[in-house]
């Protein structure tokens, strides 16, 4: 806090700097280390004898002749069929984000413009739904999906993720639409627009900041999901996160653990880039529900 009156002692400043640096180290170092290690062979990154090998690349030099190797990446993406998993992730993410934004904006707009009591109860119900652990829902899905023979395919998973995502999207967009002045669409209604026309012509042009935030969160949910995708998709259709887990499970293969390491880096990098660009929106989204109470 830069207050004119608030003079900080040098000791406090030093302490603060040290604290921030150590926290950033704790927060970021694991990722940097994994990124570094993904270019080594397994004997270096998971060294039994000496952890310094991970830096000096002792075994990597012997096995590949260079200090860095991209073997783990090439193998995971081709042999490990990580390309298929990332293709599935892209399909799932694109559909989940667009469908849940479509449903969410309509629903949240209605909620924000309704003065009836049931709007409050719907929001409360959404809060309860938000609290449900996803795995309990999955245990409800599995049996009916087996019976209907819609288990294992991407469309089912997309619809399920959209539904799971709705409560949070509704809350986020509800608090956003509350900040859009009512007079805007009310004047359009007086001019003879229907609610749909008012939504289409008046609200849609101004709703993009809120939609981008909500979209980012849908994207993070769909991209990061493990519970639903691991249990509702068959091997063939696995997205990236369950794929990473499958590399861990079978340890007969020497390369497999390094596949997981490189897959983790491959899956995390795009997400980090995206957040770097949209950092402001993520933060405003996380606080939207909170600051207004």
């Amino acid at each position: 806090m830069d207050y004119g009156l608030d003079t900080k002692s040098t000791r406090l400043k030093t302490f603060n700097t040290i604290f921030i640096i150590s926290w950033l180290l704790i927060a970021c170092f694991p990722f940097i280390w994994t990124f570094w290690g993904s270019f080594k062979v397994r004997a270096d990154f998971f060294s039994r004898s000496d952890w310094w090998y991970a830096i000096s690349a002792f075994n990597t030099l012997i096995e590949t002749g260079g200090k860095f190797t991209t073997n783990a990446y090439t193998q995971a993406w081709t042999e490990g069929e990580f390309w298929k998993a990332s293709k599935n992730t892209i399909i799932v993410t694109v559909f989940v984000v667009s469908i849940s934004l479509f449903l969410g904006t309509l629903g949240a707009y209605a909620l924000s413009r309704s003065t009836e009591k049931y709007a409050f109860w719907i929001l409360m119900a959404a809060l309860i739904f938000r609290a449900m652990p996803h795995i309990t829902l999955v245990s409800g899905y599995l049996f009916p999906f087996f019976e209907l023979q819609i288990w294992g395919i991407l469309p089912t998973t997309i619809v399920v993720l959209v539904a799971i995502n709705q409560p949070f999207t509704l809350w986020l967009l509800y608090s956003f639409f509350k900040t859009v002045p009512k007079e805007l669409d009310e004047s359009a209604l007086i001019d003879g627009c229907s609610y749909f026309q008012a939504f289409r012509h008046i609200i849609m042009p101004v709703m993009w900041p809120g939609v981008i935030t909500a979209g980012l969160f849908s994207l993070m949910l769909a991209y990061n999901d493990f519970t639903v995708t691991a249990l509702l998709l068959n091997q063939e259709n696995h997205t990236m996160v369950p794929k990473i887990q499958s590399y861990l499970g079978t340890n007969q293969h020497e390369g497999n653990l390094m596949w997981a390491v490189s897959a983790v880096v491959s899956a995390t990098a795009p997400l980090f880039m995206l957040i770097m660009f949209f950092q402001r929106q993520v933060i405003s989204g996380l606080t939207a529900g909170a600051v207004k109470g």
């Binding site: 608030d6 998971f46 309990t136 899905y141 993070m220 996160v241 861990l248 993520v282 606080t287 909170a290």
Partner: protein, 342 residues
């Protein structure tokens, strides 16, 4: 907005939530009263030159026939809820009568799978949630004191642990603290104990998972607190400085009361998320010494031979009841506020 318009606007999202959140909860409820069929066995007489033996084998054909006819399984009432893997009513009665001291009784009960998982889940919530609030608040205060220009990159670095999925986050940490990773290997050298590893001790595993939880969730608390700190009014703080209030007093008497509603919000969200902990258990491959309620359900659902729908559903129902108990105070408070507001 007229009711009819509201209905059409809300229909798609409402339908999605009812079909894929509401109905599954009901489906889970129904499934929890059924158990998978017993396998049909038949006697097979096998004769060889040394005589005949009668052995009992599973009749796969008959078993699958029954399964097809009644896929839901046989009706079991509350049987699944009270069996050994869930509430274990009979076992607890037995332990109560047989054990001599109360400590021994507690020991026995906490070894039952459901109670073991419940205790881990509660311990995790109990340790992670307050620490997340504390650490998040301290980071927010500390970052708030840094020059505005460099805050952007610092915030980006801070929120990294939050945006990766728990499975990846726990894997990344696990690869470092594993006995072959950079931190694990060095601790082994430092302690001069080649057998010291995460998997060797239950306490160590629990501590690691709890530390992971704090690492993963603190950024969320940070972000919310940081935004709330921006809204703290300056005048009272300046007045307090003039009156000679120390930094700590200013935080305690002005900043904290101002952001109090946000604190409850973060506590609630983080409690809800912590209660469903299970991916870190897979990431740290800690199934042996730490099991949570969600992990029990997952384990039932990925069972190799027969998926234990009934068992998973019973645990799910009890988890939902647990969530309801956690949420009850908040819901009651909101309802009271809503009533007085009208």
């Amino acid at each position: 907005m007229p009711n009819k318009t509201f209905f059409w606007f809300f229909l798609p999202t409402g339908l999605a939530m009812i079909l894929f959140i509401g109905l599954p909860i009901i489906s889970t409820g129904i499934q929890s009263f059924y158990a998978q069929h017993d396998q049909v066995v038949k006697e097979v007489k096998k004769c060889d030159p040394f005589g005949c033996t009668v052995s009992i084998v599973v009749d796969n054909e008959e078993t699958s026939k029954i399964r097809e006819a009644k896929p839901l399984g046989k009706f079991n009432g509350f049987g699944t809820y009270t069996d050994r893997n869930h509430l274990a009513v009979d076992e607890i009665k037995k332990f109560w009568n047989e054990t001599e001291s109360f400590g021994a009784f507690v020991d026995q009960v906490t070894n039952l799978p459901f109670y073991k998982a419940l205790i881990f889940t509660l311990t995790y919530c109990l340790f992670v949630t307050p620490n997340v609030l504390l650490l998040g608040f301290i980071i927010a205060l500390s970052l708030n004191a840094v020059a505005r220009k460099i805050r952007g990159p610092l915030i980006f670095g801070t929120i990294l642990p939050m945006i990766v999925t728990p499975l990846v986050g726990s894997l990344v940490l696990f690869w470092m603290i594993d006995s072959q990773g950079i931190i694990g290997a060095n601790i082994q050298n430092l302690m001069d104990d080649p057998y010291l590893s995460l998997k060797s001790s239950k306490t160590l595993t629990w501590i690691t998972i709890i530390i992971y939880g704090i690492w993963h969730h603190s950024p969320f608390a940070f972000v919310v607190f940081y935004a709330a700190l921006q809204t703290v009014p300056q005048e009272p703080i300046e007045a307090a400085i003039i009156d000679g209030a120390s930094r700590f007093q200013r935080i305690k008497h002005i900043v904290l009361p101002h952001i109090y509603p946000v604190v409850t919000f973060v506590a609630l969200i983080s409690l809800m998320d912590n209660f469903r902990v299970f991916e870190p258990i897979i990431g740290f491959s800690a199934e042996g010494s730490a099991q949570s309620l969600s992990w029990l359900i997952y384990d039932n659902l990925v069972n190799e031979e027969v998926i234990l729908f009934g068992s998973a559903a019973a645990t799910s129902m009890m988890t939902i009841i647990g969530i309801a108990i956690l949420l009850a105070p908040v819901l009651i408070r909101t309802w009271k506020e809503f009533k007085t507001a009208r």
